[in-house]
Amino acid sequence: MATQQTRRRSVTKTHERIAQLGWDRDYHQPVPIYDTRYVFPDKAKDPMKQVMREYLPMQLEKDERVYGGFDAALRAGMPTKADERWLQVMKPLILILVYAEGAAGRCMSVVMDVVPNDELLNGYHVQFVDEVRHIGMQMGLARWYTKHTPDPAGWHNGQEYMADNLITRAGINMFSHSFVGDPIAAGFTMMTVIETAFTNVAFVALPDVATRNGDFIQATTYSSVQSDEARHISNGYATMLTVLQKEENIPLIQHDLQQAWWIVHAWVDPFIGTTMEYFSTDRSDNESYLVKWDRWIRDDWYRSYVEQLGKMGVTIPPDMFDRARERLVAGLHHKTAPLAFATWPLNFWKFDPLTETDFEWFEDKYPGWYDEYGATWEAYAALADPEEGALLLGGFMEGAPPFCWTCMLACVIDDDMCHRTCADRHGEDRTRFYCSPECRWLDETNPGRYTGDRNYFDKYHGMSLSEVILKQKLLRPDGKTLVGQPHLNPDRMWTIDDIRAADFTILSPNITSAAAMGLPSGSWHDEGDPFGAVQADGNGFQPVTLYGGGAGHDGGGRGQSGLDDLAKAAVGDTPWVKL
């Protein structure tokens, strides 16, 4: 056999050659379709040095392991061995994470449209291809669960359900921040906060919980996803280091990073906290969500990353971070979970009641938990049987908190809840509620961003629950059994007739809260506009606020504003109020 020469090319030298592919345009300048307030230095550094000759076989090998794992899981009988409580919550989790992957990919596209530094573009692009891989793998996982797990109802129409679900549509709202608006702010949301801070929780800590519940195929898939995230985190850091070179960007970074942090925290913490703790049957985990959060978010991200930015001139006040943790300590996800469980008829997965074993675990991890929440969970379990003929939602709805205009989840921390009134597109005052002053700040400083028929219950106000269930097609193929159920028992499933018998009328907490407080209408539903009263009018869009006075655009889409303008843009019209 002939001697095979296997000289290995230097990745650095290869990358140096590939980096020569960029050139200064002489005949036509690129035309961006997105706008940024940031300015860019001449030099940047690509930390990834990804070359297709190495990248493609590496990813193929990783793919082989994941797809091979699907087959292995089937042969090992995982579908019937994994815990069903856990398998149920995979329905919303996987599908919203597929949206997140698409958001991350599209984030790369918008960032590439405005970043002029050739050195960074290759890394961004490779990330977009990674995200296509993640979508394929995770939809492959969804397909596997659909075909093989014990009760697939919900998976079968999952994308349709997910897009208009009370909980996951708030996730769509949050992840959309990473590819809508200023591309660099979007990039911080995805690369600096979602990927650098939260993927360790979602793609490392969560798969650990999956494995404890017998679901090793979820762990196999997400571990493979996470193996790409290190490169994506590098992209975020390279972006940060690039824009940091320009002093005029610093107030923008400070502003955008705080806002990115808040919107991600506001949805991810209650959602992942609830998923991890309220859908795990296995109670061998010594770490609560809060402990994991401290390890991955506080220590690994905030202290090791955000605080270190201070050395480079970016001072991020600790308030936003401290406030998020305080909300977790105050029970953000413990207060959100019962509301989510109470809305089970409107969801596309089953919610298994907690047991004594669960109570003990929660009490051990969060002393005082039982006194505060135990009775609610006992009531939930007692009403899970359709024979009882009553819904916990009935009791909840009368005193339910309104939903936050910005993050779209319930305003569960009483002391934080606030509101403001704004005119709708017809000039009539309406009330917007916020779960926190921070969410109010996001809305006030980003006019035009938060659109659509946002308050989930407004359009169903006064309708019977059964009518809403039918409208959302939340029945199984037999035409009578609900997709969502308040327990796992296949013999005692709720039907649409049971719901009708319970005779329950939906009331929007936003409408009832505003009325109780003597405020202008809390409804933002507009019968004449299926997408809500704020759609299409830009919601009072004022370019002055977002684009630093709107002055000095060079026509090429890149802002040329002065320092004063940018500083004003950084805080908007409503400066951050320290609590």
Binding site: I18, L21, Q29, Q59, R143, G452, A536, P543
Partner: protein, 353 residues
């Protein structure tokens, strides 16, 4: 009864149980393909499932997605399918296969001493212009990857992203070839290729049209122009007619492997663009307007692409064993056939010349 039970079980195992397949997909065939299962429905819109509108919008009033991101208008974007059903798994399989073939060709050329047989005039040509095509591929990549986000369906976004990905692979393959030849034969510098790209008059019309691609703001236009104009005319002229045919005649053991892989990918994109154009021109409500728009794009870009083709005649003249006139005739005929398949008419190549 027992038979009915067994039949029911079989149906469930086959996936006929409606709860065991994705009901949100309207399959193109009798049953949803794997490609459809993992792609369709991953990009919700106000037309598909976002019943309450876009919750996150641009300050200028654009929603998360916006209809006029392309001038092409169709009844339902979600019906579009890539005829070759490329998704991540086959993409990585095919891309890795291309790179493996190139690596093997490189090893073989070295271990079998094949470089000794290559026509010296061809080596000189490769030194001068062999890597310049990398700039064409890279230029297309840089706009494709930027326009992918605005596409109005997941199947379209995926296609554009993967097109950008194959362009980047092709660009890098030409550069790595130069790097390897530099080691084996000496004096294959990327800087010299860049100087040719930015300074050699014969390449300037190609550079001009590639730079102009960067001004495209309509993702539909990007698909049509790259797939039905730039790739079949300029791309195939350089890759197939110049580099592949020339290399085969010159006993070049490496370049044909690189180009064959690139042309396989090119065939995929031609199919994709053709399917896209047909999707627009056959739409039940907007066919006439789409036909007119796509025809205007063709009319706008074909003369410039043909000018770039014609300007490359001196480059062909510097390469042994290639015939520019025959090459031009072949790519023009192929492009006309492609455009005709979309129910449209290509520009008159003589008038353009």
């Amino acid at each position: 009864m027992a038979g009915e039970v067994r039949a029911g079980e079989r149906r469930k195992r086959r996936g006929d149980d409606p709860e065991r397949s994705f009901q949100w997909i309207t399959p193109k065939g009798r049953k949803a393909s794997l490609y459809e299962d993992v792609t369709v429905g991953t990009q919700p819109s106000v037309y598909t499932f976002l019943a309450s509108g876009y919750t996150c919008s641009f300050p200028d009033g654009r929603g998360t997605w916006w209809d006029d991101s392309t001038g092409v208008d169709v009844v339902d974007w979600t019906v579009f399918r890539d005829p070759n059903e490329l998704w991540e798994r086959p993409y990585y399989q095919q891309g890795a296969q291309c790179e493996k073939e190139i690596e093997n060709a490189t090893r073989s050329a070295r271990s079998e001493g094949l470089y000794a047989d290559v026509d010296p005039a061809w080596v000189e040509f490769l030194r001068r212009d062999g890597q310049v095509q990398a700039f064409v591929e890279h230029g297309i990549w840089s706009i494709a990857t930027r326009r992918s986000r605005a596409a109005l369906a997941d199947t379209l976004t995926h296609g554009i992203v993967l097109y950008a990905a194959v362009k980047q692979r092709q660009a890098q393959a030409f550069v790595i070839e130069g790097m390897d030849l530099d080691e084996d034969l000496g004096d294959f510098q990327i800087e010299a290729a860049k100087a040719r790209w930015t300074g050699e008059p014969a390449w300037q019309d190609a550079r001009r049209v590639v730079e102009r691609l960067g001004t495209i703001t309509d993702w539909g236009e990007l698909i049509v122009v790259t797939g039905l104009v730039i790739e079949p005319l300029l791309g195939s002229l350089v890759r197939r007619e110049l580099l592949l045919r020339g290399a085969l005649r010159a006993a070049d053991p490496l370049t044909p492997t690189i180009v064959r892989g690139a042309q396989r990918e090119n065939a995929w994109w031609n199919d994709f663009a053709l399917a896209f154009a047909q999707f627009g021109t056959e739409d039940e409500q907007h066919a006439a307007a789409n036909r007119s728009l796509i025809a205007s794009w063709l009319a706008d870009w074909e003369p410039e692409a043909l000018a770039a083709v014609d300007a490359l005649e001196p480059i062909f003249a510097g390469a042994p064993g290639v015939d520019f006139a025959a090459a031009r005739a072949r790519v023009v005929a192929d492009q006309q056939a492609l455009v005709a398949a979309a129910g449209l008419v290509a520009a008159d190549p003589v008038a353009a010349a």
